[in-house]
């Protein structure tokens, strides 16, 4: 089922400058795998070395944060929109 994945501004340079991409996927995880397969430079900005989504990478299906759903196992269907939304963190040395 084709779903729309919205690419946040800071990552568009690694996704052919697209604001969104249409991908075939049955789950959020499938969509992100397809996305990073198509645009491999995205991977290091979305995932840490242990293969997990970075903590500051937030993913929504329509308007729901996947943390409140089934995370990357959240099912998606045709017409759904997956949004990758940054949170911003940092701070001085401890």
């Amino acid at each position: 089922m084709p779903v729309k994945v919205i690419i946040p501004t800071p990552l568009r340079q690694f996704a052919g400058k697209h604001e969104s991409v249409s991908l075939e996927a049955g789950t959020v995880g499938d969509a992100l795998t397809a996305l990073t397969s198509q645009f491999s430079d995205l991977k290091k900005h979305l995932y840490s070395d242990d293969g997990r989504l970075r903590s500051f990478v937030n993913v929504y299906v329509n308007d729901e944060d996947i943390r409140y759903l089934q995370r990357e196992k959240t099912a998606v269907q045709q017409g759904d929109t997956i949004s990758i939304v940054p949170s911003i963190a940092g701070g001085a040395k401890a």
């Binding site: 501004t9 800071p10 340079q13 690694f14 970075r54 500051f56 949170s87 963190a89 940092g90 701070g91």
Partner: protein
């Protein structure tokens, strides 16, 4: 180069002084096209790290969305973020780097004993291993 109006520079500094000894944070709105960027407006935000606000800051995805909407409502872009380092240098820490996004401009400024000091701007390199510093050009003028 990051072009910053004097009035906005002063607002960022004031935010840092007000929140000292905690880190302040906010969004930079403006024109992100081209090599040089121009900051046209700010969205001061609440630091969500109330467990360790003196050396950590966090802006939630909800606040990021609000900042994006504030930018698009004015026909601008969300081009970066500012935060203060209380009594610490105005350069990215390892923690900053581990949590940074590419493309954004990150203004970091030192607030020493409540007084704003040097302000610098940085962009994460694509390899995520380091930053490139971008100069800040201050210009006269009120916020747009």
């Amino acid at each position: 180069m990051l072009i910053l109006k004097q009035s906005l520079f002063e607002q960022i500094q004031a935010h840092g002084a007000r929140d000292y000894p905690n880190e302040c944070c906010g969004a930079l709105l403006g024109d992100g096209g081209g090599t040089d960027r121009t900051v046209l407006g700010l969205v001061p935000l609440a630091n969500q790290r109330d467990d360790s606000p003196s050396n950590r800051f966090e802006i939630t995805s909800e606040d990021v969305r609000l900042a994006e909407k504030a930018a698009s409502d004015k026909g601008w872009e969300l081009i970066g973020w500012y935060h203060s380092h209380p009594d610490s240098p105005a350069r990215p820490s390892d923690f900053d780097r581990e949590h940074a996004w590419p493309w954004y401009s990150y203004i970091i400024f030192r607030v020493e004993k409540g007084e704003p000091r040097e302000m610098r701007s940085w962009r994460l390199n694509d390899d995520r291993a380091s930053y490139a510093e971008e100069g800040i050009e201050y210009i006269a003028g009120a916020p747009a």
